[in-house]
C-alpha cells in the first residue's frame, strides 16, 4: 500500500505487456504446420463434430463466446487452437486460470517436447493466448487480468477460452468447476455490457492420454521428471508411439442470458458505477456455481468413451487379470449396458468384439498384456529395487493408469451405481430409505464426482430411471424390487463404487487411528500414502489405489474428510 499511482500504473503496464500478444499470421501458419506434423505422428486421427463447428461459427457472429474445454492433457489447448485455425475461426484468447500450473512450464514442456526452444516464442507470437503467473495474492495482476478478459468479451475480439476444471485432471475424472474465471466472464452480462454470452462446452476425449504414466507417478507422490533433457528424450520416444484417436466434440452453445433468466436481477448492479469491482452477491455466487456444474456435466455428456474404457472397467473389478474369453463376453455386456445408460461410445462398426478387445489391448500395451489367453496388468519394470514398498509401487502405477480409464465412464454409471449401492445396503427397500442413503453417498462423494448442487432428487430419479430401463430393478408402488436378471447388474455397479468407498475408509481409518494432533496438508498426503502401503503389505489387500486421487487432488480435501470422518463414525453403514 501507499505506492504512488504512477508506479502502479507502470506495473500494470508491464503486466499487460506480458499478457498482450502481437498477432503474426506467418508464425501461426508455421505453427499450425508443425503441430499437424506432430499430431499426425502421435495420433491415428482427430475426430471433430462439424455440425458443432457450424454452431460455433454461428454463435461467434451473434454474441461473445466462451469456450470451455475439458482438461485432460497439455495437448488440450494446442488442439483447440489448431482446430479453430483449421476451420478458419478466430483463434481463442486462452486465459490460464486458477490452479498451480505456471504456463511458462507449458511452453518449455512443448519446446522440449518438440525439440525446439523457439516454439515457446512462436506460441507467444501466434497471438493466441496470454500468460499468467502464479498470482496468489497479487491483486494488481488479478485486476489487470480480469479486465483484460472482460475487454476481450466486450469488444468481441475473439472467443475466450479457459478450463473450468482449473487444472488437468490427473485421474481423468472431471474435477469440480473452479469459479474465478467463470465469475469474470459472466460479469459483463450482469452489468449489461454485452447482450448475452454463449458458453460452449467442449469435450476432448483421448483414447490414450499422453501423460498417463506421468499422472500415475504424480499421484503416487513421485516428482515429475525433469523437463529438460530427459523430457526431451522421452518426447522423442513418444513420437514413435501410437496414442490412438482424439475426439473433440463442440457442444451446443448455452446462452448465459437464458440461464440467468428469473434467477438474477441485473438491476442490482444499477447503484454502483460499473467499473468499481464488487464482490459477487450470494445469489450470483450460487448461480455461477450452478452454471459451472452444469457446464462440466455437459462436457461429460459428450465425452467419447472408447472400448478400452469398458475393458479397464472390467479389469478393475478382477485384478490382476481375467480370461480373455470372459473379458470379451463381459465387454459386450457392458457395452450394451453403457449404451442403454446413454454413453457416447466410439465402437467400430462391423467388427467382432474379440477384435475390438484385441486391438484395444494392443494399443495399451504399457498397461496390459495378453499372456496365455489371460489379459493381465503388467508391472512396471524397476530392476534395482525389490523392497516390498517398491513392489506395491510397481503395481500401483499400472493399476492407477488402468483406473484412470475406468474413471472416464464413471459419469455414466455414477447415478444408477449410487442407487444400486443404496438398494444393496438398505434392508428395507422403501423409496424414502433408499433415497436417504443415496443422498448420504451423494454428499459423501460431492467432491469426487460431479453432482449439480441442490439437484439430489433429480439425480436420484435419473439413477432410478436407468435401473428400471435396464430391467435391473422394478418399482412397485413405493418399493424397489431387484429382478432376477438384475442382480448381476446391481453387483457390478456396486463393485464399481467399492474402490472409492474403500479409499475413503482408509482415510477415515488413518484419521481415527494415527492422527493425534493437527497436521498440515504437506504432511497429510504422504502420511496417508504410507499408511495405505502399510495396510497393503500387512495383507489387508484392497482396491486402495483410488485413495491417491482422493487424497492428492484437492487442497481442500482434508477438510471435507474431517467432516466425513465424523459422519461415517456416526453411521455404521459399512455393510459394503
Amino acid at each position: 500500500m501507499g505506492e504512488s499511482p504512477d508506479i502502479i500504473k507502470e506495473e500494470a503496464a508491464e503486466i499487460l505487456e506480458e499478457m498482450a500478444q502481437s498477432l503474426q499470421l506467418g508464425i501461426i501458419r508455421f505453427f499450425a504446420f508443425t503441430l499437424s506434423k506432430a499430431f499426425k505422428k502421435l495420433f491415428q486421427r482427430v475426430k471433430v463434430n462439424e455440425e458443432g463447428i457450424q454452431r460455433l461459427q454461428q454463435a461467434i457472429q451473434e454474441h461473445p463466446v466462451v469456450l470451455l474445454p475439458s482438461h485432460r492433457s497439455y495437448i488440450d489447448f494446442l488442439m483447440m487452437s489448431y482446430i479453430l485455425y483449421t476451420y478458419d475461426l478466430s483463434l481463442p484468447v486462452i486465459a490460464s486460470g486458477m490452479g498451480k500450473i505456471v504456463p511458462l512450464n507449458v511452453i518449455t514442456y512443448f519446446a522440449d517436447f518438440l525439440g525446439m526452444k523457439i516454439v515457446g516464442e512462436m506460441l507467444r507470437m501466434s497471438g493466441a493466448f496470454f500468460m499468467r503467473r502464479s498470482f496468489g495474492g497479487d491483486k494488481l495482476y488479478w485486476a489487470v487480468f480480469s479486465e483484460y478478459v472482460k475487454t476481450m468479451l466486450r469488444i468481441g475480439y475473439a472467443p475466450v477460452e479457459f478450463f473450468l476444471e482449473g487444472t488437468r485432471s490427473r485421474t481423468c475424472k472431471s474435477l469440480t468447476p473452479k469459479l474465478g474465471l467463470l465469475n469474470i466472464v459472466t460479469e459483463p452480462f450482469f452489468k449489461g455490457e454485452v447482450f448475452d454470452v454463449s458458453l460452449v462446452p467442449i469435450s476432448i476425449s483421448y483414447e490414450r492420454v499422453l501423460e498417463e504414466s506421468l499422472y500415475a507417478h504424480e499421484l503416487l507422490g513421485v516428482p515429475k521428471p525433469k523437463e529438460t533433457t530427459s523430457g526431451l528424450l522421452k518426447a522423442r520416444k513418444m513420437l514413435g508411439d501410437d496414442f490412438g484417436s482424439i475426439h473433440v466434440y463442440f457442444g451446443h452453445p448455452v446462452s448465459l442470458r437464458s440461464l440467468a433468466q428469473k434467477k438474477i436481477n441485473r438491476s442490482n448492479f444499477n447503484l454502483v458505477p460499473r467499473h468499481i469491482p464488487r464482490k459477487p452477491t450470494e445469489d450470483i455466487q450460487a448461480f455461477v456455481n450452478n452454471t459451472g456444474y452444469r457446464m462440466v456435466r455437459l462436457q461429460q455428456e459428450n465425452m467419447v468413451v472408447s472400448p478400452w474404457v469398458l475393458i479397464a472397467t472390467i479389469l478393475m473389478q478382477d485384478l490382476p487379470g481375467v480370461d480373455s474369453e470372459y473379458l470379451i463376453e463381459k465387454t459386450a455386456w457392458l457395452r450394451s449396458l453403457a449404451l442403454l445408460f446413454g454413453a457416447f461410445l466410439d465402437w467400430p462398426d462391423h467388427v467382432p468384439t474379440s477384435k475390438v478387445v484385441a486391438s484395444s489391448v494392443a494399443l495399451h500395451h504399457n498397461i496390459v498384456r495378453n499372456v496365455n489367453g489371460r489379459v493381465v496388468l503388467i508391472d512396471e519394470e524397476k530392476p534395482n529395487d525389490n523392497s516390498s514398498d517398491d513392489l506395491v509401487f510397481k503395481k500401483a502405477v499400472t493399476v492407477l493408469m488402468c483406473a484412470s480409464y475406468r474413471n472416464q465412464i464413471m459419469h455414466v454409471f455414477i447415478r444408477p451405481a449410487l442407487v444400486a449401492a443404496a438398494i444393496h445396503t438398505v434392508c428395507n427397500a422403501r423409496k424414502e430409505e433408499v433415497f436417504s442413503y443415496f443422498n448420504f453417498l451423494r454428499e459423501l462423494f460431492a467432491n469426487e464426482f460431479i453432482f449439480t448442487p441442490g439437484n439430489a432428487v433429480q439425480d436420484f430419479e435419473d439413477g432410478c430411471y436407468l435401473l428400471v430401463k435396464c430391467d435391473a430393478v422394478q418399482i412397485l408402488k413405493q418399493d424397489f424390487v431387484v429382478t432376477e436378471t438384475g442382480q448381476s447388474t446391481i453387483s457390478f455397479l456396486v463393485a464399481m463404487l467399492r474402490p472409492f468407498l474403500e479409499g475413503y475408509q482408509v482415510v477415515c481409518k488413518y484419521l481415527s487411528e494415527e492422527v493425534i494432533e493437527g497436521f498440515t496438508e504437506m504432511q497429510y498426503v504422504p502420511a496417508v500414502r504410507i499408511f495405505a502401503v502399510k495396510m497393503i503389505i500387512s495383507g489387508y489387500w484392497l482396491f486402495l489405489f483410488n485413495i491417491y486421487p482422493a487424497v492428492h487432488r484437492s487442497t481442500n480435501m482434508a477438510m471435507p474428510l474431517w467432516g466425513l470422518f465424523s459422519k461415517v463414525a456416526h453411521n455404521p453403514t459399512s455393510k459394503l
Binding site: G192, S267, F269, R274
Partner: protein, 631 residues
C-alpha cells in the same frame, strides 16, 4: 398585454413564430379569435349560451379522429399511384407526396399494399355498454348548470388514451368499461362543485385533459362499479393573468399546448414548454404526469416551470400561500401533485414561468459515422453544459426513416444537390450509410449568441467525427416526431403495429442500454413468432448532467399472428424489463399510469410506495379519483 390596435401585427408575429417553432403548426383557419381573458369565472358561468372555444371543442369528435391520432382531416394515405401522401392543410407536410415512404414501408416491415386491415368506419352504439348512472348525482349535477353528456360518442372519446392496444380496440370496435358521464366544468369553482357532489354520492371521477396518454392512464378500471365521471378540462382554457414584472402567467389547467403558446405569443411571450404532444396535451396533464418539453435545456421541464398549483381534492383545495421562487418548508407539496396522474384530484389553475419570445431560432444537424461517436459527442456537450435548446441523436434506422419522409423534390437542382451531399458523406468521407447517424439541433436566443453557440457545438461535434449536415435535415427530424403518431394509423391499415416508449439512464450506460434493448426486441419478436423482422430503433432525446433520455420506436408486421396485441404487450413488457436491467428508469416523462405500475414498487422501494399510499389515503380515502393509476 395585447391591445386591439396592434393585434393584427401581433397575430402576424405569432403566425410567423409558430411556423418556425414547430415547423408545421398552422393556425386553424376560420376560428374565432381566442382572447386573453381575465374574466371572473362566475361572470362566464352566467352566460353559458356564448360558446367559448379554444382549439378543442366539447364535441372533440367534430375535429379529431375518434379512433386514431390527431385531426380528422390529416392522415397518411396511399394515393391511386400507390404513392404516400399526407392530407389536409395543417402541417408542413400536408398535401405533399412522399415518394420514398412506400418503399421504406414495404422494405422495413415486409408489408404490402395488397394486404389491408382497415378500421371500422363507424361506431356501433349497440357494442357500447350502457351507462351506470347514479340518479342522485345526476339530479344534483343538473342543479349546478354545468354542462354534461351521456352520449355514446362523447363517452367513447374519453374512454381511451393512445396506447397501441387502446387504439387497436377502437379500430376493431371493442369496448369494455367506458365513462358513464362526461362533464365540462368551466372554471375552478365548477370543479369544486363537481368534486363535492362526487364525494357526496360516492362516484368515481377521472380527470381528462388532452387524452394523449400512452400509459393507460385514462382507461377505466374494468371492475369499477360506481358511476365513472369523465371530467373534461378542455373548457378551462383561459390565461387568467400575465405578470410581466415577475414573468409569470396564471393559466387554467385545461388549456392545450398550442393555444397556450399562441396566446402568450400574442403578448410577446412563450413558456418554451414543447412536448411532442403539445398540439393536444394540456397544462394540467403536464403537471399530473411530470411532462418534459423538447426545449427543456433552456426552459426546463414542467417541475422547473411551475410556480404555483391549485388542485381540487376530496379533502379540499391544495395550494401554497405565496409565490416565492423557492421555499424551505418541508417536502415540496407540489411534488405530491406533479406525477400524481389524476389519483389525488384535479389541477385547475397553474402559475407558470414565461419568457420573451426569442429573437432568433436556428435548426441544424450533424452526421456522425456511427451511433457510438454521436453519443460521445452528446455526452461532451452535456459535460460542457452547452446543450442547445434541443439536441437529439437518431440512430441509423431512424435516420433512414427520416429520409423516407422527404417530400418530392421540386427541382432537378435540389435533387442534384442531395446526391452531391450523399456522395460527399458516404464516398468522400467514407461514412457507412448503414452505420451513420444524425443529430438534430435547435438553437434559440439572440442572433449573435445563437451563432456563437452554434459554432461551439459544431466544434465539439467535429472532435467526434461529426459533419454539419444542414438546417433542412434538422427541421425534418423534428417534424418526424409530430407525424409519427399519424404514421402509426397508416401502419395499422396494413398489418403494422407499433409504439414508442422512453427511459432515462446514466451516461455510461446509454450505449449498452440502447443496443441491448433493441436486440431484446428483435429476439423477443423472433421467439414470439413474429414473421417479419421488426423495426427497433432509438434516439437520445434529452441530455442532462448525469445522464440522458432515450426514446425507442418499435413496430412490426403482424400478419400470421392470431393475437397481435397480446404478442405486442409481451414484447413491450420484455423491453421494459431489459431497460430496468440495464440501469434505465421506469419512465422519463410518459408516466406510470396502469401500464407500468407493475414495476413501481421495485423502482421506488416499499417504503417509497407506502409514502405515496399514505398521501392517497389521507387526500382521497374513498378513492373518488379512482382511475387506478400509479399505486
Amino acid at each position: 398585454m395585447a391591445s386591439s390596435s396592434n393585434i393584427s401585427e401581433l397575430q402576424q408575429n405569432a403566425k410567423e413564430r409558430l411556423r418556425i417553432i414547430s415547423g408545421h403548426l398552422q393556425k386553424p383557419a376560420n376560428r374565432e379569435q381566442l382572447r386573453v381573458s381575465a374574466n371572473e369565472c362566475k361572470a362566464e358561468a352566467a352566460d353559458r349560451s356564448l360558446e367559448k372555444t379554444g382549439t378543442i371543442p366539447k364535441r372533440r369528435q367534430d375535429i379529431l379522429k375518434w379512433n386514431g391520432w390527431g385531426y380528422n382531416d390529416s392522415k397518411f394515405t396511399f394515393n391511386k399511384k400507390g404513392q404516400a401522401e399526407f392530407t389536409g392543410k395543417r402541417y408542413r407536410l400536408s398535401g405533399m407526396v412522399l415518394p420514398a415512404l412506400r418503399e421504406w414501408f414495404e422494405k422495413t416491415f415486409g408489408a404490402s399494399l395488397e394486404h389491408k386491415t382497415p378500421a371500422r368506419s363507424a361506431l356501433d352504439p349497440s357494442e357500447v355498454p350502457p351507462p351506470i348512472l347514479n340518479e342522485g348525482f345526476v339530479q344534483d349535477l343538473k342543479g349546478t348548470a354545468i354542462p354534461f353528456s351521456c352520449e355514446i360518442e362523447d363517452r367513447i372519446f374519453r374512454a381511451h388514451g393512445h396506447c397501441l392496444h387502446e387504439v387497436f380496440a377502437l379500430r376493431e370496435g371493442k369496448f369494455e368499461r367506458v365513462p358513464d358521464l362526461v362533464v365540462w366544468p368551466n372554471c375552478h369553482n365548477d370543479v369544486q362543485k363537481i368534486v363535492e357532489l362526487a364525494c357526496k354520492h360516492n362516484i368515481c371521477v377521472m380527470p381528462f385533459g388532452g387524452g394523449t396518454s400512452v400509459s393507460n392512464a385514462v382507461e377505466c378500471p374494468s371492475d369499477e362499479k360506481r358511476t365513472i365521471l369523465s371530467l373534461d378540462t378542455s373548457q378551462m382554457n383561459r390565461i387568467l393573468w400575465i405578470d410581466e414584472k415577475n414573468l409569470t402567467a396564471h393559466v387554467e389547467a385545461g388549456i392545450v399546448g398550442q393555444d397556450l403558446e399562441r396566446l402568450l405569443n400574442e403578448s410577446g411571450y412563450c413558456t418554451g414548454h414543447e412536448p411532442d404532444s403539445m398540439e393536444f396535451s394540456t397544462l394540467g396533464g403536464w403537471v399530473a404526469t411530470r411532462a418534459s418539453g423538447m426545449k427543456k435545456n433552456i426552459y426546463g421541464n414542467i417541475e422547473d416551470l411551475v410556480v404555483h398549483i391549485r388542485m381540487v381534492t376530496p379533502r379540499g383545495v391544495i395550494e401554497k400561500s405565496c409565490q416565492g421562487p423557492r421555499m424551505s418548508t418541508g417536502p415540496d407539496i407540489y411534488h405530491f401533485i406533479m406525477g400524481s396522474e389524476g389519483t389525488l384530484g384535479v389541477v385547475t389553475e397553474v402559475t407558470i414561468k414565461i419568457r420573451p419570445i426569442p429573437e432568433y431560432q436556428k435548426y441544424g444537424s450533424v452526421v456522425f459515422p456511427n451511433f457510438d461517436q454521436g453519443v460521445a459527442c452528446l455526452r461532451e456537450v452535456a459535460k460542457q453544459r452547452c446543450a442547445p435548446a434541443s439536441i437529439r441523436l437518431m440512430d441509423n434506422e431512424q435516420f433512414q426513416f427520416g429520409h423516407a419522409l422527404k417530400p418530392q423534390v421540386s427541382s432537378i437542382f435540389t435533387s442534384f444537390l442531395d446526391g452531391l451531399k450523399k456522395f460527399y458523406i458516404t464516398k468522400f468521407k467514407g461514412f457507412d450509410p448503414n452505420q451513420l447517424c444524425v443529430a438534430t439541433l435547435l438553437f434559440e436566443g439572440d442572433r449573435e449568441k445563437v451563432l456563437q453557440h452554434e459554432k461551439q457545438v459544431y466544434d465539439i461535434a467535429a472532435k467526434f467525427g461529426g459533419l454539419a449536415a444542414g438546417e433542412d435535415n434538422g427541421q425534418r427530424g423534428y417534424m418526424l416526431t409530430f407525424v409519427i403518431a399519424y404514421l402509426r394509423d397508416l401502419g395499422m391499415d396494413y398489418y403494422v403495429i407499433g409504439e414508442s416508449f422512453e427511459t432515462s439512464v446514466p451516461w455510461d450506460r446509454v450505449l449498452d442500454l440502447c443496443s441491448n434493448v433493441k436486440e431484446r426486441i428483435i429476439r423477443e419478436c423472433k421467439e414470439k413468432g413474429v414473421q417479419f423482422p421488426p423495426l427497433s430503433t432509438c434516439r437520445v432525446t434529452q441530455t442532462y448532467d448525469a445522464g440522458a433520455c432515450v426514446y425507442f420506436y418499435f413496430a412490426f408486421n403482424y400478419r400470421g399472428l392470431s393475437d397481435p396485441i397480446h404478442v405486442y404487450d409481451q414484447i413491450e413488457h420484455a423491453a421494459r424489463e431489459e431497460i430496468l436491467a440495464n440501469g434505465g428508469s421506469l419512465s422519463h416523462h410518459h408516466g406510470v399510469g396502469k401500464l407500468r405500475k407493475h414495476w413501481l414498487q421495485e423502482t421506488i422501494s416499499d417504503v417509497g410506495l407506502g409514502m405515496l399510499r399514505s398521501v392517497k389515503e389521507y387526500v382521497d380515502p374513498n378513492n373518488i379519483f379512482g382511475n387506478g393509476n400509479l399505486l
